[in-house]
């Protein structure tokens, strides 16, 4: 018998600190599978955010940098400009990327910065205990929207891929999900394409991954997956929002 599935080599063989059923682990694995398949671990520098994935520097076996909250795209820009031959990716949550780091995200994208951004959208601030995120859905209860997010008071969620797809520097903006095996396969293909774009110097690639937060949603892991499917995907439709040749 041959091994047909095991932990990718570039994913450190230690326990991830994420809550049981949190899909961060799946997304980590997909990134590592792509890194392994492309054979680029030794030439990759990852930049992790502030948020639940703040300890990701311990999990990816490539060189890693821990960025200030929201600044990962700027840090990655510095890395990529200094080392253009290296693969550079950021791994960011929704609060990091779409609230405090919106400016850095938009400008790295419009510059066509040749990096990969893995954007994990779970509609909540997980690490600080379940506050409203920029992606929290209307009506969604969080600790800072205890009666549900009221757009009259707290505004509307940000649809990041749709917003970034209007920018000339964006080569790929795709929204995927990790709620089922077919979607996970799709997500991996998108991540692979993003890294290949970087290899081919095509410009900015962002893969938005709809993810779950069973703990702060107050749901079981299985019910959290169901919420992702029933509530998140209708508001954040999966698909390719930009896939174009950036004409520098």
């Amino acid at each position: 018998m041959a091994v047909v599935f095991e932990r990718p080599k570039s994913l450190a063989d230690i326990r991830l600190h994420y809550c049981p059923g949190c899909t961060h682990g799946i997304i980590h694995r997909l990134v590592c599978e792509v890194i392994d398949e492309m054979g680029i671990e030794g030439d990759t520098v990852g930049v992790c955010p502030v948020g639940c994935s703040v300890f990701a520097y311990n999990y990816f076996n490539c060189d890693m940098i821990e960025a200030p909250h929201g600044r990962a795209p700027a840090v990655a820009t510095g890395v990529k400009r200094a080392q253009p031959d290296k693969f550079v990716f950021t791994y960011q949550g929704d609060g990091d990327l779409a609230a405090i780091g919106t400016c850095e995200t938009v400008h790295a994208a419009t510059r066509g910065e040749n990096i990969v951004v893995i954007f994990v959208n779970n509609t909540i601030y997980g690490m600080t205990g379940g506050q409203m995120a920029p992606t929290t859905l209307p009506g969604q209860v969080s600790t800072t929207t205890p009666f549900g997010r009221d757009p009259k008071l707290a505004g509307f969620p940000v649809r990041v891929c749709e917003m970034l797809s209007t920018l000339d520097g964006v080569a790929l903006a795709q929204r995927v999900a990790v709620d089922s095996v077919p979607h996970i396969r799709e997500a991996k293909k998108a991540i692979r394409k993003a890294f290949e774009n970087q290899r081919d110097k095509k410009g900015f690639s962002i893969v938005e991954v709809l993810s779950t937060c069973p703990t702060n949603w107050g749901l079981s892991p299985v019910d959290a997956i169901k919420r992702l499917q029933d509530e998140m995907i209708p508001y954040y439709p999966l698909g390719v929002y930009a896939d174009k040749e950036v004409k520098f």
């Binding site: 490539c62 060189d63 700027a74 820009t77 400009r81």
Partner: protein, 351 residues
């Protein structure tokens, strides 16, 4: 070696390129903009990177990224912009990364003004961000010294793996003086800690300032303070001018020290025994030099383009055993030698 007439900001940029600065990230702000403009013209052609960032915050984080990979990186700004950078500076210090930050100071607080100022002394030496840390702070007082200190700042930043700041001001940045660019001794400093791809030849490097266990953070900070102690013992530097027999000694740094030197000369012409101590390093502060040079002085006058910031450190340096008076102009007003002379006379009760 050839002498060139150059504006302070442009000479600074040229010196940085010559000493191996590979990446410059900046954002326009008066009165440092010429520095970025010079970098934009020269950097890419010399094989380096110039990038205008979307904000001061992005610029300092680009420096963080580039410095993480082991290259020499720099950013420059002026007072309000430095406030924005302070988040990133704290992270850079907490991640033990070397880089150079230029502050061409202007008046504050708030938007303040665009004229020269020294009101960021406290910020530079005591509060460049949250947490327990220091930044090396160098204070040039001529365009030539700007050139020399940039290269020194990069060397010391690399040696001690920490950020270094050049605390310039609008006056030094905007004025023109002849400068000589010294031959660069290019000693490659090994940076085995750099996150630039491990090539499957070593364990992964992590650039990080997070220590979730309180004792881990305490130990890391304590180790860093041992490094600071070594720096405090070796790096403090100041110029002393006519202090040997001086009864009245001025302390002043940067552009203000030039004015004060003229005031000392005016005083000496009138037979008043005046002298000047000009700190060249603001952190570490040259306390010993000040203490020793003022041993026989009757009184000390600290002159700044602020309402009095360095004066606190001067008082500490002399352990409050001497009379330390203060004179300052602020908001972008530059004191004149005559004004300073009048203060010296007041200090000595001289009619």
């Amino acid at each position: 070696m050839e002498k060139k007439l150059m504006k302070g900001n442009e000479a600074l940029a040229e010196a940085a390129i010559r000493c191996g600065c590979k990446c410059f990230f900046g954002y326009p702000i008066t009165p440092q903009t010429e520095l970025s403009e010079y970098m934009a013209k020269r950097m890419n052609a010399s094989g380096g990177v110039f990038l205008q960032a979307e904000s001061e915050i992005a610029a300092i984080n680009m420096v963080l990224g580039a410095a993480s990979t082991g290259v020499r990186a720099m950013t420059s700004s002026s007072s309000p912009g430095i406030s924005l950078k302070s988040e990133g500076i704290s992270y850079i210090a907490g991640s033990d990364l070397p880089c150079v930050i230029i502050n061409v100071q202007r008046g504050g607080p708030g938007l303040g003004g665009i004229q020269p100022s020294q009101a960021d002394y406290w910020q530079a030496t005591k509060g460049l961000g949250h947490g327990d840390f220091h930044v090396l702070v160098f204070a040039p007082s001529s365009v030539q010294e700007v050139v020399d200190m940039v290269s020194y700042a990069f060397d010391m930043a690399d040696k001690y793996r920490m950020p270094a700041m050049l605390l310039s001001d609008g006056l030094l940045g905007q004025m023109m003086e002849p400068v000589v660019f010294p031959e660069q001794k290019s000693e490659a400093i090994e940076k085995p800690w750099a996150a630039n791809g491990h090539k499957n030849e070593r364990k992964h490097n992590i650039i990080n300032s997070l220590y979730i266990e309180a004792t881990d953070l305490e130990n890391t900070v304590v180790e860093r303070y041992k490094k600071y102690d070594e720096i405090k013992a070796t790096l403090p530097d100041a110029e002393t001018y006519m202090t040997d027999d001086a009864e009245y000694i001025i302390t002043a740094y940067g552009a203000t020290a030039r004015v004060c030197k003229s005031a000392v000369n005016l005083a000496r012409a009138e037979g008043i025994k005046a002298g000047l101590i000009r700190p060249k390093t603001l952190w570490p502060f040259p306390s010993e030099i000040i203490k020793n040079a003022t041993e026989n002085a009757k009184a000390i006058l600290c002159v700044e383009m602020s309402t009095g910031q360095m004066v606190d450190d001067v008082k500490l340096a002399v352990e409050c055993k001497k009379n330390v008076e203060f004179f300052g102009r602020t908001g972008g007003v530059i004191p004149t030698p005559a004004e300073v002379l009048a203060q010296i006379k007041k200090l000595g009760g001289i009619e």
